[in-house]
């Protein structure tokens, strides 16, 4: 076989990557580039920096940018402080307890920012129960909503699960013998914690901080609903530019700013800790010497920085250990349990308030509900807008689950099994929809769809949702492959199975729990999305989150409570289904392990 033929066959192996690459290329990379390049042109299409200059000159934009960063920073700090004890508790619990508590953490994450913000609107409103409690406790001028307090409460609750999910793996990776070892060498519990456990958990804290900060930066739901004018964030400005002013060029500038902000933070993280740690993939060897040199010096700098933080924490440990009040030095498990229960209650309980509100007789979202009626459920069922939105959400999500599984499955299988030049770069491209602010993807796709006259169609919605959903499938399936023994494939091949039969009869059945989890992930991503739907739906073509959003903005009636309850029930059902699937997978793997 000639070398050229071998090489072309080598490339042919990679054909399953093609559909995903085409989708990303046509509907994400090109439109985003197009949108961003708009920033550098004027009305007549000539190259110009007048829009960029406008952004620089008007103090209002600097203020919005500043408040975006500040709100994100505050949210990050709150999330880290609350997530740390929860993660610590989960990491030190027995596995059974851990997986149950983890469900409590994950559930709100998928319940949707919209539903949860709705719940906070009820709780924090000037006449809402929490404000009343504050007044009853004797505080003057309790104002929990339409200000920074409201935004921070809503956003930190929204992003807390993300922080926990990213801290936990690092904490689980800390050798359980280290704390006993420190104690035997004479370290008191507080000293052992601050000098050993805390420095070792810092990479997890860093990863959580990064993801929370980046996600917070692109937020618009919470600041719109729970904030005042002072809390306007950059994503809100983008929406205004497009939906109200139709100023594409300036929307491009704002997208550019949002994108650059996110990329700068990501870049710093990648260089310090390595982006691959986020995907659980080890770094691939065989890259150019220059890039390795560049990497290693920066990585050393990063390791040095982390070491420095560790050292500082270690030194600070002594001081903190001395400052920790005696009763807290050995916080009994009961005390820890209470603290963690309170944090989890903050995560879980508020959302449930949407349910009673859906039965109120009044025409406002208020709590406690006045009387009981099914009137709003009737209205929901008889409303053309609400029902068609619910149905559209369901079938679009179902279609997206299928398309994402096809694209993401093919991509993950190829990436996990083949090794080729530029694989890391390709993985980065495939995962970029997770990294780019969704707002930017949505605006760019809208820009393309508007010019090609398919905005507002289900097709546009499916394309947009597939772009943001299939990378989750790639990640889930690739993680599944890490636990997959390739010997099975080789055994099947030696026993005479063709590749297609091996795939059908061996690989797919063994991977089924990963695949099921991935499909549910994709479905939920679509079902929950507001970013894409905000721009790519319109008129009577709404999805449920979009319909809810419009209702909140226009007129918040208890029908929102009904919609929230419906969303809550549907999502909980899917989540529990996925958990059942996951646990069956675990049990099956254990049995297989025991048999082997």
């Amino acid at each position: 076989m000639s070398a050229a033929r071998a090489r072309s066959q080598g490339l042919l192996r990679l054909w399953p990557l093609l559909p995903a690459l085409l989708l990303l290329g046509i509907f994400m990379v090109y439109p985003v580039a197009d949108l961003l390049s708009l920033s550098f042109t004027d009305q007549a299409g000539r190259i110009s920096i007048q829009n960029l200059a406008l952004f620089m000159q008007r103090p209002v934009y600097a203020r919005v940018l500043q408040s975006s960063f500040l709100i994100s920073a505050y949210t990050t700090v709150i999330c880290l402080v609350l997530a740390y004890p929860v993660s610590y508790y989960l990491a030190s619990s027995a596995e059974r307890v851990r997986s149950n508590l983890l469900l409590v953490v994950v559930m709100p994450f998928w319940t949707g920012f919209l539903v949860r913000t709705c719940a906070w609107l009820i709780l924090l409103a000037p006449s809402g129960p929490l404000t009343q409690v504050g007044v009853w406790l004797g505080f003057q001028n309790v104002k929990l909503a339409y200000n920074l307090t409201g935004v921070l409460i809503g956003m930190s609750q929204a992003l807390l699960p993300l922080a926990v999910l990213n801290m936990l793996p690092v904490m689980l990776g800390i050798d359980r013998n280290l704390l006993p070892a420190a104690a035997i060498m004479g370290a008191r519990p507080a000293e052992g914690f601050w000098r050993v456990y805390f420095p070792l958990s810092l990479p997890g804290v860093a990863a959580s901080g990064l993801l929370v900060f980046i996600s917070a930066l692109g937020f618009f739901i919470t600041p719109t609903i729970l904030g005042g004018p002072q809390e306007t964030m950059i994503a809100q400005l983008i929406i205004v530019q497009i939906q109200e002013l139709l100023n594409w060029r300036f929307a491009g500038v704002l997208s550019l700013v949002l994108l650059i902000s996110a990329l700068v933070v990501y870049y710093a993280y990648d260089r310090i800790l390595g982006m691959s740690t986020l995907v659980g993939e080890r770094a691939q060897p065989g890259r150019s010497r220059l890039s390795r040199l560049f990497d290693s010096s920066l990585a050393r700098l990063g390791a040095g920085a982390l070491g420095l933080i560790g050292r500082a924490a270690s030194g600070m440990g002594l001081v903190l250990a001395r400052l920790t009040p005696a009763p807290l030095r050995r916080p009994g498990r009961a005390l820890q349990t209470t603290l963690v229960a309170l944090i989890l209650a903050f995560l879980m309980l508020p959302t449930l308030f949407v349910i009673p509100v859906s039965f109120t007789q009044s025409t406002f979202l208020d709590f406690p509900p006045r009387g009981l009626t099914l009137r709003w459920y009737e209205e929901f069922i008889h409303s053309q807008a609400w029902m068609s939105a619910t149905i559209r959400s369901l079938y679009v999500a179902a279609i997206v689950a299928v398309t994402s599984m096809l694209l993401g499955g093919a991509t993950a299988f190829t990436l996990a099994r083949e090794s080729f030049y530029g694989k890391k770069l390709l993985l980065a491209l495939v995962l970029s929809p997770l990294i780019l602010p969704r707002m930017v993807i949505a605006v760019a796709l809208f820009y393309l769809a508007a010019r090609l006259h398919f905005a507002g169609t289900d097709l546009a919605l499916v394309i947009g949702h597939t772009i943001i959903a299939f990378p989750f499938v790639v990640v889930t399936v690739m993680v599944g492959f890490q636990g997959y023994n390739r010997q099975y494939d080789r055994a099947a091949a030696i026993l005479g199975a063709k590749p297609s039969r091996t795939l059908l009869h061996v690989t797919l059945p063994l991977m089924r729990s990963s695949l099921a989890a991935a499909a549910i992930f994709a479905f939920m991503t679509s079902f929950d999305d507001l970013n894409i739907a905000l721009f790519l739906t319109g008129g009577e073509q709404n999805t449920l989150p979009k319909q809810m959003w419009s209702a909140i903005i226009l007129q918040a009636t208890p029908i929102l409570g009904v919609a929230s309850t419906v969303l809550l029930i549907l999502i909980s059902a899917f989540l529990l289904a996925s958990e059942v699937v996951r646990r069956q997978g675990v049990i099956r793997r254990r049995r297989a392990g025991a048999a082997a």
Partner: protein, 375 residues
């Protein structure tokens, strides 16, 4: 419990356990353990997995509170002292080096916990690293070192603060055979030279024989026998002890007469065996008897000097050549298999199927006390 540590009449011991028990639910993890470790002594806890040796170690370390009994460390009652106040050292199987600290900082850790600083700290860390011959690796991270080097750092870290006793939880189990043997010798050498008191957990009998001044043999949550390696090998008390350490021929016998520590037994095929024993036995008792293969001689009938006593007629089954030794398998009068091991070169000249005579010296015949489970 009084806040002032109780004083104890000290007779040079570093560790003393009295009647220590630990239960998990309905299963015993440790029953009535009594053990004394003297200054400068290395005692190994040897036993199969689940025999309670790690439980015992964790009770000593303060990582597991005992249900009953007392733990004395030097002259302090330590039963309820937290780990960080016990002044002990420990080596773990997976090293448990702090991955975020350099080798130097790892070794300095226990000293810093004791508020040591400045030149004295540097000096002591340097000395400890010199003991394990790794002074040149002080500024490496643990992950940059090999498994053997990491375990030596872990040793340096355990001995740098001169704790009363160093506990070792199968520290060499993760290393390959050659490295393990090398480190066994090194640990033994350092322990002797510095006079370290050591409690060492292992399930490897060779390691226990090589390292220990005394072996504490454990089985089924109980201490089976405590004694020198020599004691355990040549004078096991129970069938378990005889079976667990080394190769052995174990067969049943019946006491015929018993006088002044001398037992006359009826062995296989009605043979008469004379053995010394301190067990309280009486005529008619059924016992188990053990002879080590290298103490069992094989000869042709007619060669034996003591024709009647301590001779068992048998048939040679098989001869296997092991290099430095030859092993003979023979079938006794009632079908039991005997193994005899002789240094190579002394060929018996007997072919399989021919009759042989098995003989043993009086002090090579060990009478075993019956096991608790009646075996």
């Amino acid at each position: 419990m009084p806040s002032e540590p109780q004083r104890h009449d000290t007779t040079n011991f570093k560790l003393r356990l009295t009647n220590v028990s630990k239960r998990y639910g309905h299963s015993d993890a440790l029953v009535n353990a009594n053990l004394v470790v003297s200054k400068g002594e290395c005692v190994t806890l040897l036993g199969p997995s689940g025999s309670g040796k790690t439980t015992l170690l964790n009770v000593v370390a303060g990582l597991l509170p005992p249900d009953e009994g007392e733990v004395w460390i030097e002259d302090r009652l330590a039963t309820h002292l937290p780990a960080y106040e016990r002044d002990i050292g420990m080596m773990f199987q997976n090293y448990a080096l702090f991955p975020h600290l350099t080798v130097y900082d790892n070794v300095a850790f226990p000293l810093r916990m004791r508020r040591e600083r400045g030149a004295r700290l540097r000096e002591r860390v340097g000395a400890a690293l010199a003991v394990v011959s790794l002074a040149d690796k002080a500024h490496r991270m643990p992950s940059e070192l090999s498994g053997g080097q990491q375990q030596r750092i872990s040793l340096a870290r355990a001995l740098v603060y001169e704790p009363s006793i160093i506990l070792m939880d199968e520290p060499l189990a993760a290393l390959d055979k050659k490295l393990r043997e090398q480190l066994q010798l090194e640990i033994r050498r350092i322990q002797k030279r510095l006079g370290i008191t050591m409690l060492y957990v292992t399930h490897d009998q060779q390691e226990a024989l090589l390292l220990s001044d005394r072996i504490c043999l454990m089985n089924n949550a109980r201490i089976e026998q405590v004694g020198s390696p020599d004691d355990l090998y040549f004078r096991p008390r129970s069938v378990f002890a005889a079976d667990f350490i080394g190769d052995s021929n174990i067969f049943p016998a019946e006491v015929v007469t018993m006088s002044a520590g001398q037992a006359c037994l009826r062995g296989p095929g009605g043979s008469t065996l004379q053995a010394a024993t301190d067990l309280a036995l009486k005529s008619g008792d059924k016992v188990q008897v053990m002879i080590r293969p290298e103490r069992l001689r094989i000869g042709t009938p007619g060669q034996a000097t003591e024709l009647d006593d301590n001779c068992v007629p048998a048939t040679l089954l098989e001869t296997t050549f092991l290099g430095e030794a030859t092993r003979y398998y023979a079938s006794g009068p009632t079908g039991e298999t005997f193994v005899s091991k002789a240094l190579a070169g002394a060929s018996s000249g007997v072919a399989p199927g021919e009759p042989v005579l098995l003989t043993a010296d009086r002090d090579s015949i060990i009478v075993l006390s019956p096991d608790r489970d009646g075996r």
